[in-house]
């Protein structure tokens, strides 16, 4: 993956870059917000790691300018303040994820991989995680190369989950995305579809976690 890190603290920036390079990514570092903004409009990246607190231009401004220019690269926001305002501002401005400093580098790596998978999948029309493959174009899923024989709704469900990897989706959100206005969305039906899909995903690293009372979260178990 090609990653742009926008971080003005040299020490932290270098550590991040080194860590990501170790994990096999191609990493560019930019300490200046203005330059980063320009760079994002011209060069192609798979992921941006953006510090909020930059000296010349705030991370939020860069983010807004990106989203205004229809640049849909996933963005991971880094903030030093654990306040809700930052979270809300970041997510509203179009951030895909955020982390509060100081953070665990292993966690950073995991988050980067999740976001990478989200964008990479859409680009190549094929999502691969260990023995699991999902062909977006052909609308088919394979475990160990064997067709999972996914039903129509299960394919839709798969697409919804894969585009929200690593974040919580409420049952209502899922129902809204799964059903058109004409169909009567039923939370029970959603549950049944999820149960069936979960059964078919057994033996793959793809986990559909149920958060009771809230919804679902799909993630990839890396162990």
């Amino acid at each position: 993956m090609r990653i742009l890190v926008v971080e003005d603290n040299q020490d932290l920036a270098e550590t991040i870059v080194e860590r990501l390079q170790d994990e096999g990514h191609v990493v560019d570092l930019e300490t200046n917000g203005e330059v980063a903004d320009l760079l994002l409009k011209h060069a192609q990246f798979d992921l941006v790691i953006l510090d909020v607190n930059l000296p010349d231009k705030s991370g939020f401004e860069i983010l807004k300018s990106m989203r205004a220019g229809k640049v849909n690269i996933p963005v991971l926001v880094l903030t030093a303040r654990s306040q809700i305002e930052d979270r809300v501002l970041g997510l509203d401005a179009g951030a895909d994820d955020f982390m509060v400093k100081p953070f665990d580098f292993r966690e950073l790596g995991a988050r980067v991989r999740v976001l990478g998978r989200r964008s990479a999948g859409t680009a190549v029309n094929e999502f691969v995680a260990d023995n699991f493959t999902f062909d977006r174009l052909g609308r088919r899923g394979y475990v160990n190369g064997k067709d999972m024989d996914l039903k129509n709704k299960e394919v839709q469900l798969m697409e919804i989950f894969l585009s929200h990897l690593g974040s919580v989706l409420s049952k209502e959100d899922v129902a809204d995305k799964l059903y058109t206005y004409d169909e009567a969305p039923s939370l029970n039906a959603v549950e049944q579809h999820v149960t069936r899909l979960r059964k078919k995903l057994e033996g793959t690293p793809l986990i559909i976690k149920t958060v009771r009372g809230l919804g679902y979260m799909v993630y990839i178990d890396e162990n």
Partner: protein, 812 residues
């Protein structure tokens, strides 16, 4: 620290206010007693007057010529006129209810107890509050014993004033005592507050670090305060120690953590091989994690405290906050093993609003969840539950499957750096943060055992109530003001008077000249007619009534036909010629003897009444049929002058007798007598209204005016504003004008009447020869008072006229 800027209340003022209210209450109670007491006292004194008057009247009741008669004593009404402002009514009735004399309306009034002793009562009569006395007397007639009852009613102005002055005197005394009492209270409060001043000086002299106990010997009442201050200082000292301990703890924790980290790193640098280095570096990383967490918690703790003091609370949806928090926490890949459950079904509504600081509450919940994770097993199951314990509260519960907290430690874990797991990952700040947030929101933090054996932490907040505002529209009704009904022309002042129109017109003209735009309509009416028409409530009753018949005027005022006017605006007012601020005399009318000058050429006229009686007797033949006198049966002024003279002098009936023998001629009017005297038809006329005579002297050189040296009764023409006056303002102005210097000078110079003002009387040309002045002692004024009513009494009048006629024998 927040300073609450509230106004200080004064203990002294509060006590004084309380005492003041107490005293005021006392004053009210005393006032109530005083009112009763003073009324009784005033009644007692003034009832004596009433009783005296009643008794003196009853004494004069007699049986003669087959009927019960009364010779109303002058003293009776004179006694009552000691209350100068009060009106008096009386009636004398027989036991059958027949009115002998007096007021027929009053005769109908009966007090409950009657008899030989006077009975008193308070009644309403003629629209006024009156005090009534009723007393009966047994009269022995040839047929039987018969009862006669006198009823006297007197208005209560004088006794009210007396009661009021007694009341004020009493109240003033009590008020002064109250004030002195309050003064003592003031001093006593000062004395009582002295110990507080000692405490103040003791505390203000202290060093800020001196938190030792106050060592004072306080009075019993202040012991509590001293104990409270000492207790507070003890707690302050404890808090200070805790704070110091906290600082020390923070320093200790942070430094220890960093030392450990440094130690691990140094060891790693000195490692002999790769494996050893890796192991030490892992430990260093763990230690760094702990240091990070400790720092986060310290910052979080500081932030929560800071926000509790400074952040404004807002209403927000706790349901959304909890959902967002869980979503955010689950992004952390390390939490994926944990089984999280949100149970917010108890909150049926879309939103659960509470008022608070979102960030602090978020921080508190995060700490509760992190605690649950840290202290729970690897495969933990954590439940977040939103409940409504009652309509006004929302509770958030975090329940885990960990070991829980033993009941005896639950208090302690809420304190800073009191983790049960100090050796491990616990910073000892998590629950302290939660506690701070709960306190700042006046929420309740409870720790108990959960259903699955783990810890159940519950935060209970007050829910935001949604107030419904109802708007009421009010419709006002607008009424149109009704136009005033037409009044009598406010610019025409109507006057009825007994004075010759020609004589009075100059006064009216002068008034109209001084008040442009006012029309005065003067109607001349004879005194008795005037009296009758006003008494019978003639609808044409004017604004002003003027008459020379003082007694009739007093009767009209006594019966309530006049209205009061401010007497202080009236200059030249003579005390004898004013009654009740309603009736005012404006002229000076002495009785005079007029004579035919040529007849008495060289002969001195008698100087006293006694000499006059002798003079007439001695010259009986020469004067026969040549002496003029008022026919007092028809002339109001003549009757008044005669009765007053009879009161003043024993000589009255002697003169009457002499006049009778000399064949006195009686006249209805002054003018005829003057003309007859001037022409010589009469040699002299006695008791003639002097002002007319003096005025006639200039035209009639043969007319002489003579005043006695012993006494000459003086009448006054009187004026009052009627109660029914349409034009009260101008009517008052007119009366004021009559008595003003301008009015008096016009009366003196143009009307031919004599002014009442001493100043203008002295400069009047008539005064040059006769020294017309009350002060001279020769001129005795007839006072305007209740006493004038005596001779208006029907029986009294009959008796007087009878006696007079007997004296003068057959006339005309």
């Amino acid at each position: 620290m927040k300073t609450k800027n509230r106004g200080h209340y004064s203990l002294r003022r509060r006590l004084m206010t309380a005492m003041g209210v107490g005293f005021a209450l006392l004053l009210v109670i005393i006032s109530i007693f005083l009112i009763g007491f003073t009324r009784n006292a005033a009644n007692k004194s003034y009832d004596l007057l009433l009783a005296g008057a009643a008794l003196s009247i009853l004494e004069k009741v007699s049986y003669a010529d087959d009927e019960i008669t009364i010779d109303l004593p002058h003293s009776a009404l004179d006694i009552l006129s000691l209350a100068p402002q009060d009106r008096v009514f009386y009636s004398l009735t027989t036991q059958d209810g027949d009115l002998l004399t007096g007021d027929k309306n009053l005769a109908r009034l009966h007090l409950e107890e009657q008899g030989n002793a006077p009975a008193f009562g308070d009644e309403m009569f003629m629209d006024a509050r009156v005090r009534v006395v009723q007393q009966s007397r047994n009269i022995i007639t040839p047929d039987a014993r018969r009862w006669v009852t006198i009823t006297i009613a007197q208005t209560t102005i004088a006794r009210d004033a007396h009661a009021f002055s007694l009341f004020i005197a009493g109240l003033t005394g009590v008020a002064i005592i109250s004030l002195i009492g309050l003064g003592f209270v003031w001093l006593a409060i000062g004395k009582a507050l002295q110990p507080l001043a000692k405490i103040e000086s003791n505390l203000s002299k202290r060093e800020p670090t001196d938190l030792t106990e106050l060592s004072l010997q306080p009075p019993r009442e202040v012991v509590g305060l001293i104990n409270a201050i000492n207790g507070f200082m003890a707690r302050l000292e404890q808090a200070r120690q805790q704070s110091e301990a906290f600082m020390a703890d923070v320093a200790h924790q942070t430094r220890t953590s960093l030392s450990a980290l440094q130690g691990h790193l140094t060891l790693a640098a000195d490692a002999k091989d790769q494996t050893q280095m890796r192991r030490r570096l892992n430990r260093a990383a763990d230690q760094a994690g702990r240091a990070t967490r400790l720092t986060n918690q310290l910052l979080s703790h500081a932030m929560v405290i800071h926000r509790a003091e400074n952040q404004a609370m807002t209403a927000f949806d706790i349901k959304k906050l909890v959902r967002d928090l869980i979503s955010d926490m689950l992004r952390d890949t390390s939490l994926r093993k944990i089984n999280l459950t949100l149970d917010d079904e108890a909150i049926s509504a879309d939103k659960a609003l509470i008022v608070g600081d979102q960030i602090s509450i978020n921080e508190a919940l995060k700490n509760l969840i992190e605690n649950a994770i840290r202290h729970g097993p690897e495969k933990n199951s954590i439940t977040l539950r939103l409940t409504r314990p009652n309509q006004d509260q929302i509770a958030i519960e975090v329940e885990d499957e960990g070991p829980g907290i033993p009941i005896e430690h639950r208090e302690a874990v809420l304190e800073r750096f009191k983790s049960l797991d100090m050796s491990g990952n616990g910073s000892g700040l998590g629950l302290a943060i939660v506690k701070e947030v709960a306190d700042a929101h006046k929420a309740k933090l409870q720790l108990r055992n959960g259903a699955k054996g783990g810890l159940l932490a519950r935060l209970t907040f007050e829910a935001q109530k949604i107030a419904t505002v109802l708007l009421f529209a009010l419709f006002g009704l607008f009424g149109l003001a009704q136009p005033d009904s037409a009044y009598a022309d406010p610019r025409t002042l109507e006057i009825w008077g007994a004075t010759d129109k020609s004589a009075f017109q100059p006064v009216v003209d002068a008034f109209m000249a001084a008040n442009p735009g006012v029309q005065v309509e003067y109607t001349e009416i004879l005194t008795v007619d005037l009296y009758q028409r006003v008494l019978n409530k003639d609808p044409a009753t004017p604004d002003i009534v003027m008459s020379s018949a003082m007694d009739l005027q007093v009767d009209l005022v006594n019966k309530g036909f006049a209205q009061a006017m401010p007497a202080h605006v009236l200059p030249n007012l003579q005390s004898w010629a004013a009654w009740r601020s309603e009736l005012f005399g404006y002229t000076f009318e002495p009785a005079a003897v007029i004579y035919h000058k040529p007849t008495f050429n060289g002969i001195d006229l008698p100087e006293t009444h006694a000499e006059m009686a002798n003079f007439i007797r001695d010259n009986e033949d020469q004067l026969r049929g040549k002496i003029g006198y008022y026919d007092i049966r028809t002339s109001g002024a003549g009757y008044l002058l005669a009765t007053q003279e009879a009161r003043l002098s024993q000589q009255f009936f002697r003169i009457a007798e002499s006049l009778g023998r000399a064949g006195v001629r009686v006249f209805c009017c002054t003018g005829t007598m003057i003309d007859a005297t001037a022409s010589g038809e009469l040699k002299m006329s006695i008791n003639v209204i002097g002002s007319y005579a003096l005025n006639a002297v200039s035209d009639k050189p043969n007319l002489g005016v003579h005043f006695f040296d012993d006494f000459n009764p003086v009448m006054s023409r009187t004026v009052f504003v009627t109660k029914a006056a349409d034009n009260r303002e101008w009517a008052r102005n007119f009366v004021q004008f009559l008595l003003s210097d301008a009015g008096q000078s016009v009366i003196s110079e143009k009307s031919g009447l004599l002014p009442i003002s001493e100043t203008y009387l002295r400069t009047n040309e008539a005064s040059a020869e006769n020294v017309l002045s009350i002060d001279s002692g020769r001129f005795v004024p007839i006072r305007l008072s209740i006493g004038l009513l005596t001779y208006l009494d029907q029986m009294k009048r009959e008796k007087f006229l009878e006696s007079w006629q007997e004296a003068v024998q057959d006339i005309n």
